[in-house]
């Protein structure tokens, strides 16, 4: 089957489900097999931890993915699970997966529901496994600086608990108030300090995972070894397609003695990018380095932070020992001014830090009735400006008739390159949900293919889910067969989060 055929197949099935969902579900309660399955789950977890109430099934059909939001907005029923379960332990997750496996029932792990890629959308119904009851901190190792916790713990609650002990996870994603630790790992998340402390995949030491057959495994206790390929990294970013993460051991940091910020304004995005590249290739280790293009500075920084700036706003931050922080900020200041950056002063940098999550609250966040998408990519320094220009043109010119706007910032920097967090905005999307989603898919395809053509990857830290799954074979080329073979070996029935990641549907 060609890539295009796979996509069409998925879209057709999705359309089928949208069109027929109410009939399908109305017939469910009288279905004896369904009752038997529900009873098996109740027997395994207790009745109070199994729900088939319509209100619960509906609530679990939502996350930050645009498709269910559009459907709901336009009065259509989104794809819903058949059952929601709330296991409280690894053993209970294993029981759930074994029951699902026996009945070839799709299993969709669910954490905070903060994903934007359709990772938890129950495309084919099935059982949603909400891990939020598994929210305990099991161990804090203050000698090795690690924490072991269950996957359902809320990100901010974990952070507060660590702060009380003098530590920090140093992982501050925009979704921190709702996302869970398991979600961080399952989607390879990043945060506002990732430039220094790394993304989720860099921070994690080991995992416990329930496999699609219900077996429980643990990866090696530490991530750095010479014992073959990384089993750990196989599950990091697997988005519930290879198993359910039930325990996470992850690095923590001591609370820094000082954390300070400064802000600069560049007339030209290239100058800002060059300043960032020099900062990183001189290995200065900023905790934050965030450069907004002029559109983003106007749309986001000015509106949300009230900073009346014209040009490209950059915030830089350093943390650690106070004297080292001073040195890092001074060195960054020298580079920024050398590249033509005008210093705005620490106040405007600190202001950004204090309000860094405000961007994601209504009415500041991008949400319906506007249609938007974050089409971010990562690449090396030599290619980043080319990608930025190409994607800006592809979106603004390619979708001019829809009034498409393109905004971008560069917020996760690596020793070798940077992530461009770019978004398209369609001010007035079509009212018809199918037309709106087709347009959404077309823009995504254009943006993603432009990234691939210019040496980028499909995504940096939001994950793949359903939204980008159909492009995965295109991204990986022949190597995708390796991933599919691993999926088939671990999950021959294809019950784990089917329809995601571009994996062929089996169930």
């Amino acid at each position: 089957m060609s890539l295009n055929e796979i996509f069409i197949d998925i879209m057709k099935q999705l359309g089928y489900f949208v069109a027929n969902l109410s009939r399908e579900f109305n017939s469910m309660p009288t279905d004896f097999r369904y009752q038997v399955i529900v009873n098996e789950f109740r027997d395994a977890l207790g009745s109070e931890n199994v729900s088939v109430r319509p209100v619960d099934l509906y609530a679990y059909s939502m996350d930050y993915y645009l498709a269910p939001q559009i459907w709901a907005d336009r009065g259509l029923k989104p794809c819903q699970p058949d059952i929601v379960v709330h296991p409280g332990s690894t053993e209970e997750v294993a029981r759930v997966v074994k029951i699902a496996s026996r009945h070839r029932l799709p299993v969709i792990p669910y954490g905070g529901g903060s994903g934007s890629q359709g990772g938890v959308t129950p495309l084919y119904g099935g059982v949603v496994v909400d891990v939020k009851r598994m929210d305990r901190i099991l161990r804090v190792d203050d000698r090795s600086l690690t924490v072991t916790a269950q996957p359902g713990i809320n990100g901010q609650r974990l952070e507060w608990a660590l702060n009380r002990r003098g530590f920090t996870l140093a992982h501050y994603p925009a979704s921190v108030y709702g996302a869970t630790l398991g979600g961080y790992i399952a989607a390879r998340g990043s945060g506002t300090l990732s430039t220094k402390y790394g993304k989720a995949e860099d921070m994690v030491l080991s995992l416990e995972v329930v496999l699609p057959n219900g077996e429980v495994i643990r990866t090696l206790p530490v991530p750095n070894h010479a014992c073959g390929p990384s089993l750990l990294q196989l599950f990091v970013g697997s988005e519930g397609t290879l198993g359910v993460i039930t325990e996470v051991t992850i690095r923590i940091e001591p609370m820094p003695e000082a954390r300070r910020f400064n802000a600069y304004l560049f007339e030209d995005i290239r100058a800002g990018l060059e300043a960032g590249r020099r900062i990183m290739t001189r290995r200065l280790q900023p905790c934050t380095l965030r450069l907004y293009d002029d559109n983003s500075s106007e749309r986001i920084v000015k509106r949300v932070l009230g900073l009346d700036v014209r040009g490209c706003y950059m915030v830089v931050g350093a943390d650690g020992e106070a004297s080292a922080v001073e040195r890092t900020l001074d060195a960054m200041a020298a580079i920024c001014t050398e590249q033509g950056g005008r210093e705005l002063g620490p106040r405007l940098g600190e202001h950004w830090w204090r309000h860094r999550y405000d961007f994601y609250f209504p009415p500041h966040n991008l949400m319906l009735p506007e249609m938007s998408g974050t089409v971010e990519t990562t690449t090396t320094y030599d290619k980043i400006y080319g990608i930025y220009r190409a994607k800006k043109e592809a979106i603004e010119e390619g979708f001019k008739e829809f009034g498409a706007r393109y905004i971008a910032h560069f917020s996760h920097w690596f020793p070798w390159g940077v992530m461009i967090y770019d978004r398209f905005i369609i001010p007035k999307p079509p009212q018809d949900p199918q037309e709106a989603l087709e347009l959404h898919t077309m823009i995504w395809a254009k943006a993603a293919r432009t990234s691939l053509a210019h040496g980028g990857v499909l995504n940096d830290h939001h994950g793949i889910g359903f939204k980008l799954g159909w492009l995965m074979p295109e991204q990986y080329g022949p190597a995708f067969a390796v991933l599919q073979a691993i999926k088939d070996a671990l999950d021959p029935q294809g019950i784990m989060n089917p329809g995601k990641f571009g994996f062929a549907r089996r169930v």
Binding site: Y64, Q69, G113, K132, Y177, P362
Partner: protein, 377 residues
């Protein structure tokens, strides 16, 4: 309705897809289910509007399982009135007759005046508290005080006497209407509001001192909107009055109390009325030891579990919220947890009684503390 259609629509629009306040919702943290998050409830309300779900007891269960403590609105950058959205939704369920059975029964009890407790006139009269039948100042006890804390009510009456402040109570004190408002029976809440306002006017009241923080919130923010005419009457909480009397020297501390003490801010006082300093002023005057703040205090203090009538509908969830707060109080190292709301007081005591594993912290109403310190009770 307390939200205009435009406000309601905008709040639903903002909340149905947003999870930025999830961490601030302790009910969601206790239940750990998506349906009981702020987004889950709003998404379901939206689906009800669109005809995707039925207005039934299951859907109503989500909106009655909430504390409506104002914390989510405070947390929200956009300041969307989420709590009002929930109360508005309750009223819609109520009008449709689609509320859970427990709620229907509770509303019936309130209309019938069950569980109101003895009248304040009887409680205070029997205790020998002096009241002035001509006084323009009314002490409004509230049903929790009457039912659960008559001794605290008596001490408050004695503090009035000790301060030389004449007062009286309504001969037959009715419900202020707050519980009915919270439960979505707006017609009932309106009827009670108008009745109590009429009684206060007939009594020629110029000032009302409320012992219950929720009664105070009703009088100051809802009674008029429900049609109760309270023109010319000022309202304040007992701790606001006590703080003034201590400051003015009308009350003299004779036996300062040992600390350390911590204080739980009732949402109706700290968030809705911004009465944050008066109880602390009191504690600084009556406690010889240290006053220790909990991590989340003042306007950020979480609900004790009584908010939104949750304790009536889901006492086990409300109890977990109270236990959570008790543990936070104990983390300060205080030996005593003070609060200024009888409902908080009731929640904390009940939680401690139900769970022996909770820290052995003494829970005391600020009124009782003042009474101890000025040696009148």
């Amino acid at each position: 309705m307390f939200l205009s259609e435009a406000e309601r629509s905008e709040t639903l629009w903002a909340c149905r897809f947003c999870m930025m306040c999830h961490v601030a919702d302790r009910v969601a943290a206790v239940l750990r289910r998506e349906s009981y998050t702020p987004r889950g409830r709003a998404a379901v309300l939206w689906a009800l509007e669109k005809g995707l779900l039925d207005w039934n007891a299951d859907a109503a269960d989500l909106v009655y399982t909430a504390v409506n403590d104002g914390l989510l609105e405070r947390w929200c950058v956009g300041k969307y009135p989420y709590e009002e959205l929930i109360v508005d939704a309750r009223a819609r369920f109520f009008r449709r007759g689609a509320v859970p059975e427990e709620i229907r029964r509770r509303v019936e009890d309130l209309h019938a005046g069950r569980e109101m407790g003895p009248s304040p006139a009887a409680i205070l009269g029997d205790a020998g508290v002096a009241m002035d039948p001509e006084a323009p100042r009314i002490l409004f006890a509230g049903c929790t005080s009457r039912r659960r804390f008559p001794e605290t009510l008596i001490r408050l009456g004695r503090l009035f006497n000790a301060a030389g402040v004449p007062f009286r109570v309504l001969e037959e004190e009715p419900c202020c209407g707050w519980p009915l408002y919270q439960l979505g029976d707006f017609d009932g809440a309106g009827a009670f509001s108008r009745r109590v306002a009429q009684m206060l006017r007939r009594a020629a009241a110029r000032e009302v001192v409320a012992m219950d923080a929720d009664c105070l919130r009703m009088f100051t923010t809802r009674t008029v909107r429900f049609g109760g005419d309270v023109t010319g009457i000022t309202f304040r909480h007992a701790v606001e009055a006590l703080a003034d009397w201590l400051k003015d020297g009308k009350l003299v501390v004779r036996r300062p109390l040992p600390g350390p003490v911590t204080y739980h801010d009732p949402c109706a006082l700290a968030r809705y009325r911004v009465t944050i300093e008066p109880p602390r002023d009191i504690l600084r005057r009556v406690v010889a030891g240290e006053i220790r703040e909990m991590e989340e205090s003042g306007g950020n203090a979480p609900c004790c579990g009584a908010g939104g009538m949750l304790a009536d509908y889901k006492p086990e969830v409300a109890g977990e919220l109270a236990a959570w707060r008790l543990r936070e109080a104990a983390e300060t190292g205080a030996r005593l947890l003070a609060t200024a709301c009888t409902r908080c007081d009731e929640m904390f005591r009940a939680a401690r009684e139900a769970n022996a594993a909770l820290p052995p912290l003494e829970v005391v109403n600020v009124i009782d503390l003042v009474a101890r310190a000025v040696a009148i009770g």
